[in-house]
Amino acid sequence: MLTLAEGENGSDNSQRLTLRTTTGDSEVRDIPALVIEPPRGWARLEARELWLYRELFYFLTWRNILIRYKQAVLGVLWAVLNPVITMVVFTLLFNKVLGVSSGSYGVPYAVFTFTGLLPWNLFATSLSGAGSSLVGNASLLTKVYFPRLVIPASAVLSTLLDFLIGFAVLAVLMVGYQVTPTWSVLYLPFFVLLALVTALGVSLWLSALYVLYRDVQYIIPFLVQLWFFLSPVTYPTSMIPAGRWSVIYNLNPMTGVIGGFRWALLGQQAPGPLFWVSAAMSLAVLAGGLFYFRRMENIFADVV
């Protein structure tokens, strides 16, 4: 087995690449000199470098979408069938059999659960797609340089197309059930962004951990399943007892995402203080994910 030595004790993973601008001594150059050195110190985001690789980000997103739809016989139709069939099953099971209602949202259960399914599916497909994205692109990691962040980020972004198609289905559903959105729908892009932020945050953790620990492939489906039941997709948040439990429940970033999403579309249950707990968790997960990913990315090529 071949593993990488970092630092002197083999456990110091803090590595980074220094991209420094130096003014040439003898002549003026357009491109700053690239200095390649052993990693040390703290990981940095290197946002400028990410910007330089925006086209690769675009192409990888485009590739992910192309592949997803090319390999399936029914192609894009899956993006419609998946949420619709799930909605029908949830409505029959949770609403008709178990008697769960949409609570104070005051809309048919089908619409209620569909508005939860959309951001949930975005999150869940991101986790399974982006979580395995680094290992799935091992040949890229070992043969070409680019900021590794591009891989999970493009995998997350490519789930947005499914989301938009599902959104069109929701529009039809709302017209059918005569549910009219209110002015709060203007806030919708913000909550879509929050869903993407949450999905990216968790995906960064999972994809980096997957490179180091192959167990993650078994953990992801399990995690998605558990997380689903802990998120208000099939039941309204009002079913959670107020007080301490409610605060704990809102530590789940997806609680805020789904709650905000429903408010934007249905105009009920405006985000309260607990929403901000949830939104802060989303940002914390992303910040932690970025930090961990940047710390570990230097050894991806050596261990993948």
Binding site: A5, L17, A33, V35, S139, L140, V144, F146, N298
Partner: protein, 424 residues
């Protein structure tokens, strides 16, 4: 002349057998955490335990001037690829520093990021972007890439329906149109059929002649000699020679021959461990001696050790016979009728091939093992070679004291076809 690449004290260390230090699964990580205090007590003083180090690169320093075409040579495991990986930022160095002035493009593999489900057209864009081209750049070069690849009729066909040859041509065509100021190239020319290889080499010559800085890693000594003005040689991670390409290549080949080089010891087997690997190769005389020099009046035996993990009817194992200039005299596989082919069953096997007496001239030759899955892909393709020395002693002509130029020396029959006495 300004410096394009400045490398000083560059080193890259890997740890071997470090499973305990770096957990491979979460379970190990958890176990590690739990047992760490106990281990620390036991191994008090020796922090490394049974972990051994491998310096893939060690204290390498040299400069490359802008516009210079530099060849990097060395045996397998000498650190050539690690050097390119560090310079192209795929992996981090452990020590030292490299400073690069200019836009870098690296080509460590042909077809990186190609996707089987996508069409040729889509793959050109995708692969171009992965290699660092902008969308505008790819669009501008699109027609040239298609023309170079000779696959114009199949642009909208998914790549999975391409033959291996077509795939490789398209992949190389994209790579060949990469246009950076500094180009780092690993052994990528050994792809495709011979005609296409020549075309690629031509393209490389053009790039090399266009004033760009090129770092070229290769086993192909002819290519290195033709393309490069200067060559550095690596051995066990260290820089051991640096100078004009003719001189270094010649010395390298001599050293390979002299150092009992008729036995190929491989640190890492060549090929794909899950299918078939070549673990060694040697050249022997009739008595089974591998020292050489060999006499052209006696037959030679080439032995290739293989290890088969998964059986496949399509395996072909053979070798290239090369001259000192790197010219391939012939690439041999089992030539006989199908029933006579040596079986390649799972396990180890040594294939033995007799090279008849009276074939080679005096001089240095190399045997480079190769293996492939018939018409599908290469497993081993000229990745390493055994060098040996021949003495010419099979001619019965009293005039033949050696020294006739050429690489082959079969005895030809000479007789007068017609004689005319001078007419009176």
């Amino acid at each position: 002349m300004s410096v394009a690449i400045d490398i000083s004290g560059l080193g890259k260390r890997y740890l071997i057998g470090a499973q305990r230090e770096r957990a491979a699964t979460l379970r190990d990580a958890v176990t590690n955490m739990a047992t760490a205090p106990i281990r620390r007590l036991r191994h008090a003083g020796s922090s490394t335990g049974d972990v051994s180090e491998l310096w893939a690169l060690r204290d390498v320093s040299f400069d490359v001037d802008a516009g210079q075409v530099l060849g990097v040579i060395g045996r397998n495991g000498a650190g050539k690829s690690t050097l390119l990986k560090v310079l192209s930022r795929i992996t981090k160095p452990t020590t030292g520093r490299a400073t690069i002035h200019g836009r870098v493009g690296s080509l460590l593999e042909v077809g990186t990021g190609f996707h089987q489900e996508l069409s040729g057209r889509e793959n050109i864009y995708l692969n171009g972007a992965i290699l660092g081209m902008t969308r505008k750049e790819i669009a501008a070069k699109f027609d040239a890439i298609v023309e170079f690849s000779e696959i114009a009729g199949f642009l909208d066909t998914p790549v999975k329906r391409y033959s291996t040859g077509m795939f490789v041509r398209l992949a190389f065509a994209v790579a060949a149109h990469l246009d950076p100021e500094i180009l780092l190239v690993d052994e990528v020319l050994s792809v495709g059929d011979l005609a296409f290889q020549r075309k690629c080499l031509g393209q490389m010559e053009q790039i090399a002649g266009s004033g760009r800085t090129v770092l070229f890693v290769s086993h192909n000594m002819v290519a290195v000699r033709n393309l490069c003005t200067r060559v550095v040689e690596l051995d066990k991670g260290r820089l051991v020679a640096d100078g004009p390409s003719d001189e270094i290549v010649k010395a390298y080949i001599s050293a390979q021959t002299a150092a009992g080089g008729t036995e190929l010891h491989l640190q890492q087997p060549l090929g794909r461990p899950e299918e078939l690997v070549v673990t060694g190769a040697r050249v022997l005389d009739e008595q089974g001696r591998s020292e050489g020099p060999f006499h052209s009046s006696r037959p030679l035996f080439v032995e290739i050790d293989v290890e088969v993990a998964r059986e496949n009817e399509g395996y072909q194992v053979g070798f290239d016979l090369l001259s000192v200039d790197g010219l391939v005299l012939r690439s041999w596989h089992t030539d006989g009728p199908e029933g006579d082919w040596p079986p390649l069953r799972a396990g180890r096997a040594t294939l033995r091939c007799e090279v008849p007496a009276g074939l080679l001239n005096e001089g240095r030759y190399a045997v480079a093992p190769r293996a492939d899955v018939y018409r599908t892909y290469w497993l081993v393709n000229g990745d390493d070679a055994v060098w040996f020395e021949m003495l010419h002693d099979h001619s019965e002509s009293p005039l033949s004291l050696g020294g006739s130029p050429g690489v082959v020396a079969p005895v030809f029959d000479w007789r007068a076809a017609e004689t005319h006495a001078p007419q009176a």
